[in-house]
């Protein structure tokens, strides 16, 4: 068995161990010549822009974008889960969306009816104009009647067909 002094000496002698000079040189050259593991290396910002720099920016941006997307998705998912399972989450009865929908429906209905009323008025006025061409001439009464229809047609918004017909009947009676 070795005594303590022998062991200490043996350990101290290990300090002097160093690799073979030739092996060190070969290894260094081998490491420097081998390709980088990641393939994309953070570029030297002082160096020229090269293709690796572009790839690094793209990859970095994609990473940031994907992290942000995941974060947003998680936030929305957590929010959705908490509200969805809340007993007070009542999307069907949400007042703002019902009001917006009702306004849209009302607007659509009004536009539809207005368009048809307008068409009906244009048709009748066209017929009156043709009537003026076929008769001996447009007279004052005829022209003033057509003129008065200008305001009738322009102010049709929101009127019902019955109202429109009554107005047109009045106009027609005036010119007879």
């Amino acid at each position: 068995m070795f005594d303590d002094d022998t062991i200490i000496r043996a350990l101290q002698s290990l300090r002097a161990i160093e690799p073979d000079k030739d092996f060190s040189k070969k290894s260094r050259l081998l490491i420097l010549a081998s390709p980088h593991k990641n393939g994309v290396q953070e570029p030297d910002i002082t160096g020229d822009m090269n293709i690796n720099t572009g790839r690094w920016i793209v990859v970095r941006s994609l990473r940031i974008a994907s992290f942000t997307a995941v974060a947003i998705f998680l936030s929305v998912a957590i929010y959705y889960a908490t509200t969805q399972f809340s007993p007070l989450f009542l999307p069907g009865l949400d007042q703002s969306s019902i009001v917006a929908e009702a306004d849209m429906v009302d607007q659509k209905i009004t536009i539809e009816v207005e368009q048809i009323d307008h068409f009906s008025a244009v048709t009748k006025e066209s017929n009156q104009l043709l009537d003026g061409v076929t008769k001996s001439s447009f007279d004052h009464l005829n022209s003033s009647a057509i003129g008065s229809e200008t305001s009738q047609i322009d102010g049709l918004s929101g009127q019902s067909d019955t109202q429109l017909n009554n107005q047109l009947n009045t106009i027609l009676q005036q010119i007879q």
Binding site: L90, L93, A102, I109
Partner: protein, 306 residues
């Protein structure tokens, strides 16, 4: 919470509601512009007629020239109307059945025939510089007759079909809302969030309004199918005859109760057209009523569940 609800509502509105509807302007600017221009010409002619400094020959020449332009403008107006209704008809999604395909084809053919008639007449006038006042009057008289007999009815029919189908779109939207509210109401009562039965009653009222709206729109479509569809089939003929009789009885009952001294026998076709329009307008009113109930339900739910 409130802010988030608004954001979600905005998304719903943006993606859920705007998609089915494409809003068109209520009135075509081109038509209004052409109408204004024509009115201006009529005024011009009246002024010329009153102008004592002009010779009779000048007045006669002005009359030919202006009446020719008025006639051409009326032909343009008719073509603009055709263009507008044709575009609207393109947006209508007809049911994929033989009967509706036949109606669609019939409406398109009627519009195309009218467009061809007006454009040919317009070309004929433009190609002939030597038209006399009598020639212009004759053409105007023919155009007027064609308009009254054919074109005006075609445009009315196309508009009725468009309106009926657009009500169908609104009905689908309202139906979707009714389903969403139904699931909320089920949740509220399943979780015993309130003891009040008011919301349930309101929901039944809204459902009944929707049923009425749908039934009226279906009725309008049934009439359209029979009137504009297979006119020759015996069942359609019977349907139209029965409907006409009922409408005539109703008309005479209303006319006899009115104080008007002037009574004219109404055209069978006009009675049916008015009936279709009245069904659609009633259907729209029920949809509006349904939405009014939806809004009341939303307010009531907020107050009950606070």
């Amino acid at each position: 919470m409130k802010k988030n609800t608004i954001i979600i509502a905005s998304f719903l509105i943006l993606f859920g509601i705007t998609v089915p509807f494409s809003f068109a302007s209520a009135q075509s600017p081109e038509i209004n512009q052409k109408l204004d221009e024509t009115r201006g010409k009529v005024e011009q002619l009246v002024k010329i007629k009153d102008n004592s400094s002009l010779s009779e020959q000048d007045k006669a020449n002005a009359e030919i020239s202006i009446k020719r332009e008025v006639l051409l403008n009326v032909l343009d107006l008719a073509q603009l109307q055709i263009k507008t209704v044709r575009t609207k008809l393109d947006d209508v999604i007809f049911p994929d059945t033989e009967e509706w395909s036949a109606i669609k084809e019939k409406l398109y053919n009627a519009l195309d025939a009218a467009r061809d008639y007006y454009s040919t007449t317009e070309s004929d006038i433009n190609d002939n510089d030597a038209l006399t006042l009598d020639d212009i009057k004759t053409v105007a008289s023919d155009v007027e007759q064609h308009k009254i007999d054919t074109f005006d009815a075609t445009v009315r029919n196309v508009n009725d079909v468009i309106l009926t189908f657009n009500v169908g779109d609104v009905l689908l939207l309202a139906q979707d809302r009714l389903h969403k509210i139904n699931s909320d109401i089920t949740k509220i009562y399943a979780k015993r969030l309130t003891n009040s039965s008011t919301l349930k009653q309101m929901f039944f009222a809204a459902s009944r309004s929707m049923d009425q709206a749908r039934s009226l729109d279906d009725k309008a479509k049934e009439i359209l199918l029979n009137v504009y569809g297979q006119d020759t089939s015996p069942s359609s003929k019977r349907f139209i005859d029965n409907l006409s009789k009922t409408l005539m009885v109703d008309y005479l009952a209303t006319a006899s109760s009115s104080t008007s001294t002037e009574q004219t026998s109404p055209d069978k076709r006009a009675l049916i057209e008015n009936h279709i329009r009245s069904l659609v307008v009633k259907s729209l009113n029920y949809i509006k009523q349904t939405y009014a109930t939806f809004i009341d339900m939303s307010k009531k739910a907020s107050s009950l569940l606070q």
